[in-house]
Amino acid sequence: MSEIVISVRDLTKCFGKFTAVNNISFDVYRGEIFGFLGANGAGKTTAMRMLCGLSYPTSGNGTVAGFDITREGEMIKRHIGYMSQRFSLYNDLTVGENINLFAAIYGLSKQNTRKHTAELLARLNFSSERDTLVGSLPLGWKQKLAFAIATVHRPEVVFLDEPTSGVDPIMRRQFWEMIYEAAEGGTTIFVTTHYMDEAEYCSRVSIMVDGEVRALDTPTRLKQQFTAESMDEVFRTLARDAERGE
C-alpha cells in the first residue's frame, strides 16, 4: 500500500469518567475505502469527530491529510469532505444554489465553481434539476447530491457517517458506485455503516467495540480470521462481547 493519509496513535477521548474512545491506533492509505464499523455507542462518531477537527482528543495524536488533529484542525477542515446520515443540504435552496454555497465555503473561484457544477450535474444526470428545490427530490437522490457536494472541492479524505441509512437498495448500489469512482480518483473514503453487505465493499474494515478497535483487516482476511461466512457474522462475533448497551 502507498501513502498514509490518516494516521492515528493511541487516540483517547474521555467525557468525565466515561472513556468513549480508548487508545485506538490505525493508518488509512490514499485511495482506500476504509470501513469504520461498530455498534451504536461503540465510539465511532466520537472518533470521527476528532478526525474532522470538531473535538479535541484527551490524549494520543494523529494526522489527517498531513495535518495534526490537535493543532491544525482548521487546515484539516480545508482538506476533508464530510457527509452525515442526517441530510445535510438545504431543502429550501435549489440544487444549483446548494452547490454554489458549498463551493464558496471551500473557497472555489467563480470559474472553478461553474466548471465543477456542470461536471457534477452531468455526472449525476441532474442537469435538468439545477433549479429544483432540493426538498422536492427523493431521498436517494438527495444523498447522491450530498456526496457529490461533499467532494466538490476535491478533498483528500471524505468522511461519510452512515451515508446510506434509510436509502433503498438500488440507490445504495448507485451510491457505492459513486464512492468507488471517487476512490479511483485518489480520494480516500472513511465510511461508517450499519449495513454489513456494504462492509464487504470496503478495502479494509475496522470494527470498534466498547471504544476500542478489536479488528482491522480486509473483509476477506477478517472472514478467514473469524472463520465466518460473511462480514455480518464477523461483526456479530465481535459485538457479542460488548459491555456497553445500545
Partner: protein, 364 residues
C-alpha cells in the same frame, strides 16, 4: 474568503424569502399592531352618552347643553326627568346625567357678579366603568368650568400630548416589542433550526469560522428590521401624527442600537436552546412577557410593585421605550437620553461577549 461570507448572506436571504408565510407575518404584524393600537385600542373615551335633567330649559341651560352636545367626546341623549335618572343609568343607555339647579340662570349671574354660590350643576355618573367615569367627569368639568370661567382658579396645560392621544403612548412600546420579536426570536430560531436539521454540523466541519456563519445570519434580519423601522416611523408620523420632534436621526440611531441588542439577544438564546421549540419558548417567556409587562409599554413602571420596578431595570425594552417616548413626544434630542443609550450599549456589548464565548465553547 470574503466571497464565502457574501454567499452565506445570500443563502440566509433566500431562506427568508422562500419562507413566504413567515415573511408576510413579519412585515404585516407591525402594521396591524400600529393600526390596532393607534386607532382601535385606545384609552381615550369617545361617544359617551349623556343626558340632561333641567327643571327649566332656560337660555343658560341650553347654552351649556349645546356645548356638551357639540363636543366630540359626548353624544347627547336628550332631556330626562329627575325620576328617570336612576333608571336610565341602570339601563346603561346613558353614562352621565347632568343635573341643573332650578334657578341656574339667576345663580350664574350671581357668580359672575362675584357672589359665592352653592353648587349649581350636579354630575351623576355611572361608576361601574372606571375608565369612562373618570374620563367623562374630567371632560365635563373642563367644559363646565369654561361656563363659569370666572370661578376657574387654576389652569391645566397638557404639554407634549395636548390631545391625550393614546397612540403617542403605544408607538414606542410597539417598537420595543416588534424588534425583539423579529430580531431576537427569528435569529435564534434560524440558528437553532440548522442545529436541529443537521446542516450546522456540516458547516462546522467546513473551513468557515462559526462566527461568520452567525453574523451572516444576522444581516438579513437586520435589513428586515430596518425596513420595519422605517415603516413604523412613517406610519406613526403620517398616519398617527406622532410628532417626533426630537429629531428623526436620534430616534433612528437609538433604534439601530436596539436592533443590534435584539440580534445579540437572539444569538444568546440560540446558544442556550437546542430545539426550535425551545428557542421559541425562551424568546416568548424571557423576552416577550417582560417587554409587555415590565417595560412600561402598557403599565407605567411607577405603578409596579417595588420588586418589579427593580426587575424592570434589566429589561432592555424599558430603557429603549422610555428613551423613544421622550424623543418622539417630548422632543428631547438624543443627547438628553444618554443614560438610556449607555445602558443599552452596555447590554449589547455584554450579550455579544457572552454569546460569542458560549458559541465558541460549544464547538469543543
Amino acid at each position: 474568503m470574503k466571497n464565502n461570507f457574501l454567499s452565506f448572506v445570500k443563502k440566509e436571504s433566500l431562506h427568508i424569502l422562500r419562507d413566504k408565510r413567515t415573511m408576510l407575518i413579519v412585515m404585516i404584524v407591525p402594521v396591524v399592531l400600529m393600526v390596532l393600537f393607534g386607532f382601535a385600542i385606545s384609552t381615550e373615551v369617545n361617544n359617551i352618552n349623556i343626558a340632561v335633567s333641567a327643571p327649566e330649559r332656560t337660555d343658560g341651560v341650553k347654552d351649556v347643553v349645546d356645548r356638551i352636545a357639540h363636543n366630540e367626546y359626548f353624544s347627547f341623549y336628550g332631556y330626562i326627568d329627575q325620576e328617570q335618572i336612576d333608571k336610565e343609568l341602570r339601563s346603561g343607555k346613558v353614562s352621565v346625567v347632568v343635573v341643573f339647579a332650578s334657578d341656574f340662570d339667576r345663580r350664574m349671574e350671581q357668580i359672575s357678579a362675584g357672589v359665592p354660590s352653592k353648587p349649581i350643576i350636579q354630575l351623576v355618573v355611572d361608576g361601574s366603568n372606571v375608565n369612562i367615569a373618570g374620563a367623562s367627569t374630567a371632560y365635563l368639568q373642563g367644559i363646565l368650568l369654561g361656563t363659569a370661567s370666572q370661578q376657574a382658579m387654576f389652569e391645566t396645560r397638557m404639554l407634549f400630548n395636548p390631545q391625550m392621544k393614546s397612540a403617542y403612548n403605544f408607538v414606542p412600546g410597539i417598537m420595543g416589542l416588534i424588534f425583539i420579536l423579529v430580531c431576537a426570536m427569528m435569529t435564534s430560531v434560524s440558528i437553532v433550526r440548522e442545529k436541529e436539521v443537521g446542516t450546522m454540523e456540516v458547516l462546522l466541519v467546513s473551513p468557515v469560522r462559526p462566527v461568520k456563519i452567525v453574523f451572516a445570519k444576522m444581516i438579513p434580519y437586520f435589513v428586515i428590521s430596518f425596513v420595519i423601522l422605517v415603516m413604523i416611523l412613517l406610519l406613526s408620523h403620517y398616519l398617527l401624527d406622532v410628532p417626533m420632534s426630537g429629531g428623526v436621526w436620534g430616534i433612528f440611531s437609538l433604534s439601530l442600537l436596539y436592533l443590534l441588542l435584539s440580534l445579540s439577544l437572539g444569538l444568546l438564546v440560540s446558544t442556550i436552546a437546542k430545539t426550535q421549540v425551545a428557542a421559541l419558548l425562551i424568546s416568548a417567556m424571557v423576552m416577550m412577557i417582560p417587554v409587555l409587562l415590565l417595560s412600561g409599554m402598557i403599565f407605567p413602571i411607577e405603578n409596579l410593585p417595588e420588586i418589579f420596578q427593580v426587575l424592570s431595570t434589566i429589561v432592555p425594552a424599558r430603557w429603549y421605550i422610555d428613551a423613544i417616548r421622550k424623543m418622539m413626544i417630548q422632543g428631547v434630542p438624543l443627547m438628553a437620553v444618554w443614560k438610556n443609550s449607555t445602558i443599552l450599549l452596555a447590554m449589547t456589548i455584554m450579550f455579544i461577549v457572552i454569546s460569542l464565548k458560549k458559541f465558541n465553547d460549544k464547538l469543543e
